[in-house]
Symmetry: D2
């Protein structure tokens, strides 16, 4: 692996998608700064990346705090120029409208939208003087559709998409690739398998069609391809789903 | 005018659109509860409505406060059953992404999205037991497009649209008409005329094409027609613009 | 009923939606020119309209023939100025892609898209010199979604929507209201009831939830409201569905 | 270059995008079947591809003729299994609605929509028995927007998009990747440069910002990346544009 003098910041480096993104970009030679609420949970990821010779720094990060985002990205940029910032914080909840408390509504927005705005803005601040960079946001089905029970989550995801659009229109001409990657499928995580079990029973999980859920590594690959696009033909938004998904 | 035993709550009863909505529904016999940040500014509207025999109550209302929304709507509903709740708070600002402060981003969201969620939820809570009602949200061009400089405003308006969608899908089958009215045009207000003056000069305002800006009363009419739709053919969303508008 | 010196042309005046449109506008005092493939089938409609004092002319019309469209509209316009042209030809078919013959694909397009283009263009030709008029197109769920089996139908409906958009952008500033009304629901027709029977059984039809299907008269009402919109706040597109519909 | 036992059919192999697609896939070891109206114009492309050791067959092909499409694809499939079919026929015209003749409307549809349907269907027929394949369609700004003067072109492009959607929903679960690539920009062709010259003058062309137009090779690269996507995360649609493009 040839090391690069460049960092990738992963904000929302959870056990699945975030971890795969970190591994992919580390394997491509980037120094990865991985942030999540409880940084201690990053230990296995750090170990795995270091085992194959990658460079990674795991940090505790409350992405809803402006000063934490700023410090996290400044830190990454001090190590080596921040080449890519990926915002991947999720906050998927479902409640009937009457049971959606103001606390839930606000918290989901702070995690899935406001934090993304902060991350995008601060990444842009570091990238603009160099005239290059990439800012990517993870979207979901709820980025485009306010389904029943998703007032809080869809509202935050719609809002994040608007941030991405406004940033893209402003920053693309300055050579910063802003993109919004919509995952229109269930991702293969413990949480999704648990949901399937609750809804469809234990057998449904055990006999799960291997093509039904999206492997987290596929999301990492999609980000990698977005990164590799020549600026003569950038994509702002794309939806990915497994070949067997209904849409 | 025949008085009805029903109230209309207008949240965000500003001098233009909100005032026209209040006058229209008062003229149709509804008791109107009009709320805006500074309730004293409602005096001319109250006077005008009362002059033609309409019933109206003007209230100071910080729509970002859960308890104020709840009290305002409960109050309206106590007067007579809440038939329609119209959320019309605006918060149109434009800043380059780097100059969009966290304070602005949060405040715009609280005004244009979070307050709308609260209003919709609390209106639904009052309407559901009666199995009827109407909850309408005012949208803008920025509800569908995150243009340059609109990270804050578009994010909030996208978010509000998601709330409206989720609420509509849940509440329509319970006979509550949730709709989202997108105004894809400049509305004829002092503020918009000032913008035109700043951008295009005094002459541009003086010679303003009478068809260029949308009269606020047209928005009120559009809401009236949404209200009158039979439930056999409800509209969730429509964009209105003057015939000469480019889109 | 006060008669107006104005005609409404209904192209695709079938037994349900088209007939209701004809009755509605005739009841509002317009002279209605109703065209359908086999004009003889219009006899009951003509009788019904004349019974309440309305003015209606039923014609055989192959809307896929340029000269027939031209003659039909010229004829209407000779009777009295053509105020509204409504294109309502349907051609809903569903075939797996491999079984969609070139003949079906072409025919569906000719009926649902090409004929609509001809109707819109020829109506505009008559309306432009007078600087006023209305051209409305009936859309469907398939105007926005290419579902499985709908390669032919959705392709034609997407195409019709594009015609409507291009015409609206060109003709609105010339005071001609072009609009596209999307019916996102099953309409209560013999054909739809037959489909339900085939798919869900006889009992499903007999116990049909009265709110499930859209009454054709609701579509006529929606057109009437589009017609009544002031040009300060025109709508180009709206989707209508019954309150109980899933979307 | 390692040769593959697989063919790529390029329908609409014009001098720019089509030619670059052909070169790219030939360089990747595919046998390319390139079809365009006047096959003799393919001589330089064939020469260029053969010069670098690629395999290519140039054919005269009227894509609007069912039997020609069928024969062309069967021919390709006989040489080696048809792995990818790319439909790239353009037909960009602009006329005011009144000047859009029925002949133009029909011809543009036959070229840009109907031919695409035939290509997609016949490619699917060859691919389905093998349970694998890729069918890609080239879209344009007019695939999503019916701008003034584009009644014919947008109608055809909207229609093509619907075909692609219906085909994708039916064929993805059968392991055939159907995708729609929207080029939302001017492509650097002689024709586009001529348009710029006409509209903006000779100087505009001579001093053309090198980032303004999309290089045709970028479209070929985008198709290549679509082809390489794992089926766990397929993209149906994406819009590409140069980083400096306004949207």
């Amino acid at each position: 692996m040839q090391k690069r003098n460049a960092t990738v910041a992963v904000i929302g480096a959870g056990d699945y998608i975030g971890a795969e993104i970190a591994k992919k970009f580390a394997a491509e030679g980037f120094a990865v700064f991985a942030g999540r609420r409880n940084g201690e949970k990053l230990a296995p990821l750090v170990k795995e990346v270091e085992a194959f010779g990658g460079t990674i720094f795991g940090r505790s990060l409350d992405a809803r705090k402006e000063e934490e985002i700023t410090a996290f990205l400044a830190d990454a940029d001090k190590h080596a120029p921040l080449e890519i910032c990926i915002f991947n914080v999720g906050a998927n909840v479902n409640f009937p409208i009457l049971e959606t408390t103001e606390r839930v509504f606000r918290k989901v927005w702070e995690m899935a939208c406001y934090a993304g705005f902060l991350a995008g803005r601060e990444a842009a601040r570091l990238m603009l003087p160099r005239g290059r960079g990439n800012i990517f946001f993870t979207g979901a089905t709820a980025s485009l559709r306010g389904g029943i029970g998703f007032a809080a989550f869809a509202s935050a995801k719609f809002g994040l998409r608007a941030v991405a659009q406004a940033a893209a229109r402003e920053l693309w001409p300055k050579n910063i690739h802003v993109a919004h990657l919509i995952i229109d499928a269930g991702v293969d995580t413990q949480w999704v398998r648990e949901l399937i079990k609750q809804r469809e029973g234990q057998a449904a999980v055990e006999n799960l069609d291997p093509n039904r859920l999206m492997p987290p590594a596929s999301v990492a690959e999609a980000y990698w391809e977005l990164y590799r696009q020549p600026r003569t033909a950038w994509v702002f938004e794309q939806e990915i789903r497994p070949f067997g998904e209904k849409w």
